[in-house]
Amino acid sequence: MTDLPALRAMPGFPDALALQARGDDAALVEALAVEYQRLLGFNLPPYESLFVDPSAMLQAPSTGRVRTLYREAGWQIPSDVRAAADDHLGAELLALAELFASGRPALAQRLVDQHLARWLPVFIEAYERLDPAPFYRTLGALTLGTVMGMLPEAPCPAPRAELDSDPGRAAQSPRAAGSSDPAASPEVQALLDAAWQDAARMPGRAPRAARAVEAVDPASTPLDPDGGLGLRELVRQLCAPQSAGFFLSRHDLAVMARAADLPGAAGDRSHMFESLLRSAGAYGMVEPVVAGLLARIDEADASYAAMQETWAAWSATGGLWRARLVASRALLAEALDRSERPTGPMPI
């Protein structure tokens, strides 16, 4: 249950709670519970693997890496915490607190450097787009600030290892890639290549390196209502933050559908997204939908740039995320181009 007195004693929260209050404390607690469910229950599952694994599913290889760190620390998630996976944000933060409390700053730093700092900013970027109620907005900002404040003063190496599902392979750390034009950087291009190679190892993925910037197979028409490989590839790329560079939430998709006067079909995110693209194709609304996506990418880019500005130590990681955004823009440009070509017969 929410401990209101404790929250009210913490800096920043009294105001946030006052802003949110509607009625008595019980009503406030209930409002907080509803908002929690909206934010993290429906829109933004707070698990690292969603952000760093190409599958964007729970219990991915990256979850194993978090688990390995816990094990090295001799730490276990308390048995009364019932998360769906060990890389739940709350679990990582709890581990972080306990590592510091128990005097193991090196492991705590690793948890920040190799895990939290790599995905939390992307998570928070999507979280803030959900327009959280004041309490949660404060909580999000505080969490991000705390974690980012733990990054070392010097820019940390770009996290090549996170692209690589094989932690045993030596991670070559390229130079920082936080330039204002990430696409222009050869380091970023190298990272992109690595990302595509990593993605190519996913089952069912063709090993097409740097597909976003190279011409793709003309037979693959991303917005062809036939639903060829291209459309699904596009959806897969953009629904996995690890390749897209941002988290495309149900909220984002609904906003885009509404803006284009298109069906708000749903299911899981990839299903919603594919439906949105299909109907956009059917009604000649590809351009506005793609424009909506590009705007979404621009917002993410601006947000990451601001974070790079605020936390210099995150500039390399932020550069990588921004490079992914560049790739997503290229992919969308390609999709838009293909949507203007004639379509074939419908398969069943």
Partner: protein, 964 residues
């Protein structure tokens, strides 16, 4: 990683199976400690150690075996493969089985119990604890029971996926509160089979058949799809002829030796033409028919003047069926008469090995569809292909539901919301009519559980369901038990996450082939951790989040309904091993495995295991291999001892007053409590007393006295009823067509596979199949939008022009077309649901368009239910069509197809629920109510199958008291 894991090898093993096939499965003796390379580490060879836990798929009804590979280090489920020891699926699975992994690891699934905040359907939820849920619902039910409002408590299930559990629960609660999905599914087939045999479901032995006759797209999507499909192909490989009646050129049709594409609803006419051919040419099993058919009863009833000989019967039979010539069948079906003759000649050559099956398809789609099953079974009867190798058995012979340690008496109540008087012969609950009954004021619900059931989307007339569910005066509390979100969950007060295939305990037994088995579903992570010595009080402690399982949920809830035992509920939930204490989930199954599964204790002992440990290790037990001609077996001699048994000279039925042993199997059966002579136990046949069938005559009832007595004398014999979509009722020239809306897609399972990305990746559209001639006539090309108008509304979708369907008929799969209601600020229900407008009461428009006014950015996503795909949700536009006899919703629709109107969009749906209610009344008027026709003052023939059967006294109509 285990320290010695790298020392272990991962050598793929070649296993020689009993039937000579080679395949690769980890040998069962190594399931507890299995090492293989991690595929995701490829090309490096990284060994991972697993404990393999058997479980049972929970996606479709087949209950195929799965093996969960649980990593012994991380305790996560790495993958699911087949369980080679499962007798039904034999280690093979369809796409839906391994996709359980997707469902388990779906980050967007429901992980915690949720309670609504604000008004129902408003879309605001908060997480609550299981204790809060149990106390609230338990208190509510207790109050209703104390106030004698038992009939206001209803449990409504879509896919049961388990056996025996709810009989235990609901009988303990003393309710007639079970509701099902049956009358959108199988009521027609059940009625057709039950009037013949007393039992309601076929169990064909495809693998050994000479002729396989399917009325469905069974190879790809039918009931028991995977177990049946593999055996159909085995049968074909061994030389069986495959005959398929399917209006569409389905994958199944494409594999047939003989495919006929009938006009929808004409199937019974075709089958009777086959029957007539067998009779007229003498190519039927005369001895079998003479022995097992109740022909004497028919002659006595309809031809009392005639010599009661078998020859007279044969003559009269031919007279009755003489009109069903090949030419007549051809005229009705639109098929070639020669093709129908060919079908008849193939059936005639089956040599008593005809495996035939219908479950939904034609029997679920047409007025009188139950006669499709009845006429199909006629062919089994004529060929003697019943209960024999290569023939067709009845489900109860091949199914085993173990009796639990306590089963409370049959409840002393009758619920007219599910078993209304207008349908005394229904199979079974009139589930689709619930919104109309509540609208008419026939009752209300205090506590309504929906469980893996999504009537808003799946049922016809979904808008009427929405109207019902949002009305708190009609439905006091709605708890939705489901692993995933659904349209129905949106209108609930609690969403209670229940486990998937790898997250729950259940027993399940299905009649998948010639044999009998039970299987054990298990929460695989819990089992894996128990193997490591962990102990759990509740399965949700081991599942992701707080996902629970129903067995434990109902035990806990029952205990809170009756904490002191005063209501008589609690005693069913006391441990058989620890008197007075609450039973655990292990004890519940342990007792059954030890006491009511014949052969299991011995098989377990042979391996030094307890029966529970045996099932935990292997996940399945085979009670019998091969077909069993149950009705042809001698009656237990102890029942026939002198002075305790009597033979009725007129019928040959043998009655016995001898006591029976304890009941071990609770598979629903017809009821024959008997009279002063005792209860009927057998039939005298050629000097022997054989068991016979579970019918009043103990024979196969070609002639149904029950149908005669209960108001339908015109259907005394198997016959052909012209469908509500018969060509005579259509104006083809005006653009009217028949819509087939029932076919499944092989990789999806109703609304339960929505969170399996792998499955939706394979299938995700539902365009309208339309023949090229029709398309040309209407000026439609593939991908053009068409408007399809039903009796109560219309929907808009793209067409797929094909010659894989008959002219005059169009088709659309029901598996797709789920929609999501977008949110919009505001408190009123309809204004919350932007895409679903009700501009006037009962006038619904599902129009996917931008909401008027600005979208508040704080407007929560929680004010939104997600619906799947951009296909069209056609079922919303179908009114209810309950068959007046079987109660089956007759799915086929007479529609008008035309090019989309200006402004129409794919996915548009318009519905008039007032008109829907009027159509309900039109079909209701076709019924013959028990009030009028009951010959004995009962609501329903007491012998007839009825799940969750109340006590006999509850059968009596209130205004027709017993004579004594």
């Amino acid at each position: 990683m285990n320290s010695d894991a790298t020392a272990k090898t991962s050598i793929p093993l070649t296993v020689l199976q009993d039937d000579g096939r080679l395949t690769h499965y980890p040998p069962p003796e190594r399931w507890g400690d299995w090492t293989e390379y991690d595929p995701k580490s490829w090309p490096r060879k990284v060994p991972r150690n697993y404990t393999l836990v058997p479980t049972v798929c929970f996606n479709c009804e087949s209950a195929c075996g799965l093996l969960g590979y649980v990593d012994t280090e991380t305790l996560e489920v790495q993958k699911f493969e087949g369980n080679p020891l499962h007798p039904g699926s034999r280690g093979r699975n369809c796409a839906k089985g391994p996709a359980t992994h997707n469902q388990v690891h779906d980050p967007e699934r429901i992980l915690y119990p949720l309670k609504r905040v604000g008004e129902r359907g408003g879309g605001q939820w908060k997480r609550v604890t299981w204790d809060e849920v149990l106390d609230d619902i338990g208190g509510r039910i207790r109050k209703a029971m104390l106030e004698e409002r038992h009939n206001e408590i209803m449990y409504h299930v879509g896919r049961p996926g388990h056996d025996g559990l709810m009989e235990w629960i609901l009988f303990a609660w003393g309710l007639d509160g079970h509701n099902s999905h049956t009358n959108v599914c199988s009521s027609g087939a059940r009625a057709g089979y039950a009037f013949w045999t007393g039992l309601d479901r076929p169990s064909p032995d495809h693998a050994d058949a000479r002729v396989i006759l399917l009325i469905s797209s069974h190879l790809e999507t039918g009931h028991y799809f995977n177990p049946h499909a593999q055996r159909i192909l085995e049968g074909k490989h061994k030389g069986a002829k495959l005959i398929v009646l399917d209006t569409r050129l389905s994958n199944t049709a494409s594999r047939a030796d003989l495919w006929l594409s009938p006009w929808p609803g004409s199937e019974a006419a075709m089958l009777l033409a086959v029957a007539r051919h067998l009779i007229a040419t003498g190519q039927y099993d005369r001895d079998y028919v003479r022995t097992w058919v109740n022909w004497r009863e028919w002659l006595a009833a309809d031809h009392p003047e005639a010599e009661p000989s078998f020859e007279t019967f044969e003559q009269k039979l031919l007279e009755v069926y003489a009109p069903y010539t090949f030419d007549y069948a051809a005229a009705e079906s639109g098929c070639d008469a020669e093709a129908i003759r060919q079908m008849a000649e193939e059936v005639a050559r089956c040599e008593g090995k005809l495996a035939a099956h219908v479950w939904r398809s034609a029997s679920a789609s047409n007025l009188g569809g139950w006669q499709v099953a009845r006429t199909l079974w006629f062919l089994n009867v004529l060929t003697g292909s019943i209960g024999v190798e290569g023939g067709t058995s009845m489900n109860a012979w091949d199914k085993w539901i173990p009796h639990p340690h306590v089963l409370a008496p049959h409840p002393p109540r009758w619920n007219e919301l599910t078993w209304p008087r207008e349908y005394p012969l229904n199979f079974y609950e009139m589930s689709i009519l619930l919104p109309h009954f509540l609208k008419e004021g026939r009752g209300k619900l205090d506590t309504y559980f929906t469980r893996v059931y999504n009537p808003v989307w799946t049922n016809p007339d979904g808008m009427s369901w929405i109207e019902m569910l949002r009305d708190e005066s009609k439905v006091g509390m709605h708890a939705c038990l489901s692993p995933t979100w659904s349209e129905t969950a949106w209108f609930s007060d609690y969403v209670l996450p229940m486990g998937l295939a790898s997250e729950r305990h259940d027993i399940v037994s299905q009649e998948t082939h010639a044999g009998c088995w039970i299987a054990f579903r298990q929460p695989v992570r819990r089992v894996a951790m128990e193997r490591q010595g962990r102990i759990f009080a509740h399965t949700y402690e081991a599942n992701p989040g707080e996902v629970w399982e129903e067995t434990e949920f109902w035990i806990e809830l029952s205990w809170r309904i009756d904490p002191d035992g005063a209501l008589g509920v609690r005693r069913s939930f006391e441990s058989p091993y620890r008197p007075g204490e609450k039973i655990t989930v292990h004890e519940y199954f342990q007792w059954m495995f030890e006491n009511t599964v014949p052969g299991l204790p011995e098989a377990a002992a042979a391996e030094g295991l307890t029966p529970l440990a045996y099932m935990q290790r292997y996940g399945a037990f085979e009670l019998r291999q091969g077909a069993e001609q149950v009705y042809d077996q001698p009656v237990d001699p102890s029942l026939l001892s002198a002075g305790q048994s009597t033979v009725d000279p007129a019928t040959g039925i043998v009655y016995s007053q001898a006591p029976t042993g304890p009941k071990l199997d609770i598979t629903p059966m017809p009821a024959f409590p008997g009279d002063s002579r005792g209860r009927p136990v057998g039939l005298e046949v050629g000097g022997q007393v054989l068991r016979g069938f579970d019918t009043p005559s103990r024979k196969l009832e070609l002639y149904s006295q029950t149908l005669v007595d209960w108001g339908w004398p015109e259907y005394a014999l198997p016959t052909y009823i012209k469908s509500h979509v018969h060509p005579e009722r259509l104006d083809l020239a005006a653009g009217e067509r028949v819509l087939i809306p029932t076919f499944r897609l092989p990789t999806l399972i109703h609304t339960r596979s929505g969170n399996a990305k792998w499955l939706y990746e394979i299938s995700h559209r539902n365009p309208l199949w339309i023949h090229s001639e029709d398309a040309a006539r209407m000026g439609l090309a593939t991908n053009d939008l068409a408007r399809v108008s039903t009796e109560i509304g219309h929907f808009v979708l793209p067409v797929w022009v094909t010659e894989g369907i008959r002219p005059g008929v169009v088709a659309c799969s029901h598996h797709l077309g789920r929609w999501r209601l977008s949110e919009q600020g505001g408190s009123h229900w309809s204004s919350n649901l932007v895409d679903l407008d009700e501009p006037e009461p009962g006038q619904w428009q599902l129009r996917v368009k931008a909401p008027a006014g600005p979208f508040a950015s704080s407007d929560p996503d929680s004010q939104r239910v997600w619906w799947e795909d951009v296909g069209v949700h056609q079922n919303l536009t179908f009114p209810v069509h309950p068959d007046p006899v079987s109660g089956m919703h007759c799915w086929h629709q007479k529609v008008r197809v035309e090019p989309a109107h200006p402004g129409d969009r794919h996915g548009d749906v318009a519905v008039d629920t007032e008109r829907a209610h009027a159509v309900y009344k039109e079909w209701l008027a076709l019924t013959r109510s028990a009030d009028r026709v009951s010959p004995d003052g009962l609501r329903r023939p007491h012998w007839l199958l009825r799940p969750f059967r109340p006590e006999l006294a509850a059968y009596r109509l209130p205004d027709r008291p017993a004579a004594d």
